[in-house]
């Protein structure tokens, strides 16, 4: 029992953080204190990963499994959530509304994401997913005096609710047929059971995929993405794009590996189609956008398509590629939304491309970081995104997925256009009039935020130039899953 608690320490630390932050707010409303408590809580949870590592692999009740794979992804998500908190501090500082609850909601959402990573049972999966979703409804609509966050929050609420219903129905079908909700037991029942009606199993799996696909925002479950990305406060968008998606990808890998769903060729076909369509639609629609947050939204649809190519490739190659690409994607996306956050003004997020015109000549450091992240998203060498793409291509070639590989190559060349448009704007000369008029110092930046951005940029290049240590860690991680 005590060992169980040790293994679950990261989860407990996060839950405790939420409660402590709640109490702090109850006694004394102070933005800085709440933010510091949140960051310390993240630190404590991260540190307790080391404690949990001494007792892995450990199954806790039928619901949770703490293994090397889970710890690796938890570390990733905690770091990402930490970055979001730091960015949010600069973003929320000086706003009139109460801002402390933001951190509580964010910690809860992260807890939900972490539960997804460690679940081996549909009940914990659903718990985690709902914890994540419900916290996100509030977070997306957090700036409630503005129309657009409210609209985005409502949209997310309705669509997420519908997708949860699909997921539940799928789970019910699977349970009715297989008599279990544990992933590995499902695999056993599938292997031995002769009197299983495959139709129901397939329908159940397909419906669970709907629920998961919604969270990943892959085509055709992507409709909410551009509006939510645009409407949500920039740090929340960063959270949706990284922590929420990262957790669901981790879950998907575990689900398919443990529930033995890979042999279902029709499911793999579905995922191949989703991957292909996501790459095409994401990149094509991004071309038509002029709003930076919407561009990033569509580009994230395309990127999840790339991840799914690696996922379809399956095997250890595929799982490694998924993990590496996800790390590269999370670092890059956090950097990109970090810049958007820092450039944003209090009354409106920096989503118009005009805001970025001539940024290089005004704030060269910020513009270079944004350039690095955009080039990484485009997959240009020296950046994490490039090696991620190489990894995915290698996995695709390994499994001879030629149509997807060629599609990936062509669509990512197409994708260059919209990334370059933003880059070009940043390096464009300022109109004389505007250089003469001094702009006020950008309000959303903070020292901590700048340090985080520089760290992310260094990480981006480091992953792109010398990823050998990370690759070793990923190999160990994936080995513990398969």
């Amino acid at each position: 029992m005590a060992v169980d608690l040790l293994a679950a320490l990261p989860l407990i630390a996060l839950a405790a953080t939420a409660i402590v932050a709640l109490l702090v707010v109850a006694f004394r409303r102070n933005h800085l204190i709440t933010a510091v408590v949140t960051l310390l809580g993240h630190g404590a949870a991260f540190a307790s990963l080391a404690v949990a590592a001494t007792v892995i692999p450990r199954q806790i009740t039928a619901l949770l499994i703490i293994d090397g794979y889970a710890l690796f992804y938890m570390a990733l998500l905690l770091v990402a959530s930490f970055v979001v908190s730091v960015l949010a501090y600069g973003y929320l500082k000086g706003r009139a509304d109460p801002v402390e609850e933001f951190y509580i909601l964010q910690v809860l959402a992260t807890l939900g994401a972490v539960v997804l990573v460690v679940s081996r049972h549909f009940v914990s999966l659903f718990l985690g997913l709902e914890l994540l979703s419900v916290a996100l409804y509030a977070l997306i609509a957090y700036l409630r005096t503005d129309d657009r966050p409210l609209e985005a929050g409502l949209k997310y609420l309705l669509l997420a609710g519908a997708s949860s219903a699909f997921l539940l129905f799928g789970v019910a079908l699977l349970y009715a047929e297989l008599g279990t909700m544990e992933f590995d037991r499902m695999a056993q029942s599938l292997a031995v059971g002769e009197n299983i009606r495959r139709v129901f199993v397939l329908a159940g799996l397909a419906m669970t995929i709907t629920g998961i696909g919604f969270k990943l925002a892959v085509v055709p479950f992507h409709m909410w993405t551009p509006d939510v990305y645009e409407g949500a406060p920039a740090p929340v968008t960063a959270f949706v794009a990284t922590v929420s998606k990262g957790a669901v990808v981790a879950l998907l890998l575990r689900y398919f590996a443990q529930a033995g769903a890979y042999p279902y060729s029709s499911l793999i076909l579905v995922f191949s189609l989703i991957a292909g369509v996501s790459m095409v639609v994401g990149n094509l629609l991004a071309l038509l956008q002029s709003n930076v947050k919407r561009v990033l939204a569509y580009s994230s649809i395309a990127h999840l398509g790339y991840v799914l190519v690696a996922f379809v490739a399956s095997g250890s190659q595929g799982a490694e590629a998924v993990t590496f690409y996800l790390i590269a994607y999370i670092v890059t996306t956090l950097g990109a939304f970090g810049v958007v956050t820092v450039v944003s003004e209090k009354d409106r997020d920096a989503d118009s491309i005009e805001v970025y015109r001539g940024l290089f000549w005004r704030r060269p450091g910020l513009a270079m970081i944004f350039t690095a992240t955009l080039l990484s998203l485009a997959g240009i060498p020296l950046t994490a995104g490039f090696l991620g793409k190489v990894y995915v291509l290698l996995a695709g070639i390994h499994s001879a997925l030629w149509p997807l590989v060629i599609l990936l190559v062509l669509t990512s060349a197409l994708g260059l256009v919209y990334y370059l448009r933003i880059v070009v704007a940043m390096y464009a000369a300022l109109p004389q009039l505007e250089t003469a008029r001094h702009r006020p110092p950008v309000p959303s930046s903070s020292l901590a935020g700048n340090i985080i951005l520089v760290t992310l940029a260094i990480g981006l290049v480091w992953l792109g130039v010398y990823p050998a240590p990370i690759i070793r860690a990923i190999r160990l991680t994936v080995a513990s899953l398969l």
């Binding site: 060498p381 190489v390 291509l393 070639i397 060349a413 370059l420 050998a468 190999r475």
Partner: protein, 499 residues
């Protein structure tokens, strides 16, 4: 280690030029000049010292090599090597780099530091491409030269620069990714057959490939190199990019970036896929001839000086393609010589076109005419390079094209004759270029300053180089021959069959 220095000096020089450029633009120019001069000097010393016996192994005629492990899990290493072919092209890179920096001395007045940073980083990428033997590293440099080049075009370019820069970037990147897929597939096949990943081109030489696979992979490489070269249906980025780029950008594009495509064909496509490339040779040669004629005809039809020169590049690089796929040592020598001579002559023409635009603020030849009387020095120099471009005997381009034609005549007489027609067309467009700009009445009444001493100095160096290449190209051929003979040995069994 000297190979690493070639690249590091450029990278460091770029960073330094950028950081001091804020305080004093002159320092940035000086640093760029210094970095390139040091590299050129190192290269020349290497050339003159010339290790006595060139190591002839199964893997190449390398002079110098260096290898550091980079990503062991995938068998990727930081592996540079230099043979005669790379050496000549690396020297050309430093030489043209110097010319480009001097030529933009007065043209570039804004953001001088960042400009020279981009120039030096592009050149570092080009040098890396010419030296890399590990294909992953090769691709890395291949893309590295792209980004700063695109920056050069869209920050310091002319009217339509954003369109040109994005088009250039997308064309190169799309074709580059196809090459990346081919590279990854080869390394995967290596893993399948030997149990370990490798990106080393020398090890891939021994990899047996099924004919169909080899053909697809060869096409993956060919497309990437064909876009850069450019080969005709894939050339449309070139006139835009060359025209919109600032002078230094045009010089580097025409003089060096196009050569990376030709180099890639010689270094990788021919030895890695001899059978497939041989099967493909007639198609490639036809594309080369089409490029020669099409480029020449379109050059004749242009009214924009820089566009005209850009289309002559399409035409001249057709000779390189023809030579490479003619598949014999003579034609290969011609192709290599053509790469060098075209780099110098077209580079010079772009510098002159840039100088014209700087003075007249137009590139439209219809507004020019009669300039000889006001800028006689420029007229004389332009006449010289136009003559070089049309292949006047006694200048390097003539030797190069002549070698290519002799080499290809024994392989395919019809295509060679068609290519010869291109030489006639070259005369027409070159003379039209001179006639429209420098001769005739000075309708607009232009009165502009002539070339400065600085401009004349670089022009003199380039003229000297072309005359030298035209009268005594033997040292160049001696330098490159071991590399080409090695290539011949790699593809020999087929060469015997063909005869």
């Amino acid at each position: 280690m000297i190979l690493l220095w070639f690249i590091v000096i450029l990278l460091a020089g770029g960073l330094l030029a950028w950081s001091v450029g804020r305080w004093n633009p002159l320092w940035a120019r000086g640093i760029a000049l210094g970095a390139l001069a040091i590299d050129l000097l190192l290269g020349l010393i290497l050339w003159l010292q010339r290790p006595g016996g060139v190591v002839f192994s199964n893997q190449g005629a390398w002079w110098v090599q260096m290898e550091w492990p980079w990503l062991p899990p995938f068998g990727i290493s930081f592996h540079l090597a230099l043979d005669g072919l790379s050496l000549l092209l690396v020297l050309l890179t430093f030489f043209l780099g110097l010319m480009a920096v001097v030529a933009s001395w007065s043209e570039i007045q804004e953001r001088v530091g960042f400009f020279h940073f981009n120039v030096l980083w592009t050149l570092a990428g080009v040098v890396g491409v010419f030296l890399a033997v590990d294909l992953f590293l090769f691709y890395f440099f291949w893309e590295m030269m792209l980004v700063p080049m695109a920056f050069l075009i869209f920050i310091w370019g002319h009217e339509n620069r954003v369109y040109a820069a994005i088009k250039f970037f997308v064309f190169t990147q799309a074709s580059g990714l196809l090459m990346l897929v081919a590279i990854l597939t080869l390394s995967f096949l290596h893993n399948q057959q030997t149990g370990s990943y490798s990106f080393n081109a020398m090890q891939w030489l021994e990899l047996p490939l099924a004919p169909a696979t080899a053909m697809w992979l060869m096409l993956g490489f060919f497309v990437a190199f064909a876009v850069k070269l450019p080969v005709v249906p894939l050339h449309t980025w070139l006139p835009d990019a060359h025209t919109e780029a600032p002078t230094a950008g045009s010089v580097i594009l025409a003089g060096l970036l196009l050569k990376t495509g030709a180099y890639g064909l010689l270094r990788f496509v021919v030895p890695l896929f001899p059978d497939a490339a041989k099967t493909f040779a007639t198609v490639a040669m036809s594309l080369g001839v089409i490029g020669i004629l099409y480029g020449a005809v379109l050059a004749f039809a242009q009214t924009d000086v820089k566009r005209l020169v850009a289309y002559t590049s399409v035409s001249h690089m057709g000779f390189v393609l023809l030579g490479i796929f003619a598949w014999n040592e003579l034609a290969w020598q011609g192709a290599v010589l053509q790469m060098i001579c075209h780099g110098i002559s077209t580079g010079a023409l772009f510098i002159l076109a840039g100088a014209l635009q700087e003075r007249l603020h137009t590139r439209d030849m219809r507004d020019m005419g009669g300039l000889w009387s006001t800028v006689p020095r420029m007229g004389g120099v332009a006449l010289f390079f136009a003559m070089a471009s049309l292949g006047l005997p006694g200048l390097g381009n003539f030797v190069a094209e002549f070698l290519v034609l002799i080499g290809s005549f024994r392989v395919n007489a019809f295509l060679t004759i068609m290519a010869t027609v291109g030489l006639v067309a070259a005369t027409v467009y070159a003379l039209r270029l001179i006639q429209q700009t420098f001769h005739g009445p000075n309708k607009e009444g232009w009165k502009v300053p002539d070339l400065t001493l600085r401009d004349m100095a670089i022009m003199a160096v380039m003229i000297a180089a072309l005359v030298y290449l035209g009268l005594y190209p033997q040292p160049i051929l001696d330098t490159v021959n071991p590399a080409l003979s090695h290539l011949q040995r790699v593809v020999e069994p087929l060469g015997m069959l063909a005869r």
